[in-house]
């Protein structure tokens, strides 16, 4: 049986915050701060240093169980963090990525650029989950077009 398909992708997400880079960086570096924005419904432990590991485990309400593991590789205080990231959902690897967070001074604020380069995997139930999501989308589309789905 062939393994589930994998897609490779680079995701880039950016924000400008009206706070200096050191402050924004601190929100990534301090466990209590990070828990406030990056982690929820989860147990969380964090060792923020090159070679250090950060783990979270939990489940969103009505959602699947997940585990994340981060291993820090490059930390330039106030400027850059590079880490390896793995996400497991219901025990199966779902995404494995290298993440770079860059903190660029912009005026009195910070331009944060997050780049996630990853391998994204179909889960074992990919087809069923796909079908359920698509059915739901079709119903919404039909409603938007004011026409019933035949049969």
């Amino acid at each position: 049986m062939s393994p589930s398909p994998v897609a490779h992708e680079t995701i880039v997400v950016e924000r400008t915050y009206p706070h200096p880079p050191a402050r924004v960086f601190a929100a990534w570096a301090d466990p209590d701060s990070k828990r406030r924005w990056a982690v929820c419904h989860a147990e969380h432990e964090m060792d923020f240093r090159p070679g250090g590991v950060e783990r979270a485990r939990g489940a969103a309400p009505d959602g699947p169980a997940f585990e994340t593991e981060i291993r820090y590789h490059d930390i330039v205080p106030g400027r850059r963090i590079v880490y390896a990231y793995a996400l497991r959902v219901d025990g199966a690897a779902s995404a494995v990525a290298v993440v770079t967070a860059e903190f660029r001074a912009e005026g009195a604020g910070t331009r944060l650029v997050v780049t996630e380069q990853g391998a994204y995997l179909d889960g074992p139930d990919g087809a069923e989950r796909l079908g359920a999501g698509l059915r739901d989308a079709l119903e919404r589309l039909a409603a938007a077009l004011h026409a019933p789905v035949a049969a």
Binding site: V13, A97, A150
Partner: protein
């Protein structure tokens, strides 16, 4: 601050979470594509768009074909049936009380849009959902992007909170 959609997942199962940037019509090919089509401006990030979205945005003709293919109730019925698993042309035609040639005509439109793939083995033509943008792996990508968007929104809110130890000169005590 409400902790509505927490966690790293933005799991592909829930329609709302799949494409949170879309504005009402949740079509599997992504809200960004629809909004671009209606000229509502760039919904993608300032960084270069993910290649798969870029690919779709560069092929508006194929988007038109997709919408055309889904605008017909019989075709939507066929696609809905195929979400439950592959089917032969006659299996698709039967519930619609449709002749095989008519069904094939609809399937050709669906195939042209990339939503459905058919193959013939012997005398039976089997149809299945097969559009790269619908594959779970690609939808994980959209979910991961959505998860980052929410996390960075929460980071912004967290950064904007006043530090707990400093007194607020405007507070009544």
């Amino acid at each position: 601050m409400a902790q509505e959609e927490c966690g790293p997942v933005g799991y592909p199962e829930t329609s709302e979470e799949q494409f949170p940037d879309s504005s009402g019509i949740h079509v599997p090919f992504g809200g960004a594509a629809i909004e671009r089509r209606h000229g509502e401006g760039e919904r993608l990030d300032a960084g270069s768009p993910a290649p798969i979205l870029n690919n779709m945005l560069n092929h508006e003709a194929s988007l038109d074909l997709l919408f055309q293919s889904l605008a017909d109730p019989a075709r939507r019925g066929m696609v809905e049936r195929l979400t439950r698993g592959p089917a032969s042309v006659s299996e698709l035609a039967a519930p619609l009380a449709m002749s095989l040639p008519a069904a094939m005509q609809h399937l050709r439109v669906l195939e042209a849009s990339g939503l459905v793939r058919t193959e013939k083995a012997g005398r039976v033509r089997t149809c299945r959902i097969d559009a790269e943008a619908l594959r779970t792996a690609e939808r994980w990508i959209a979910a991961r992007r959505a998860s980052w968007e929410r996390s960075l929104d929460r980071l912004g809110a967290f950064l904007d909170e006043p530090p707990p130890s400093s007194p607020d000169p405007g507070a009544d005590r």
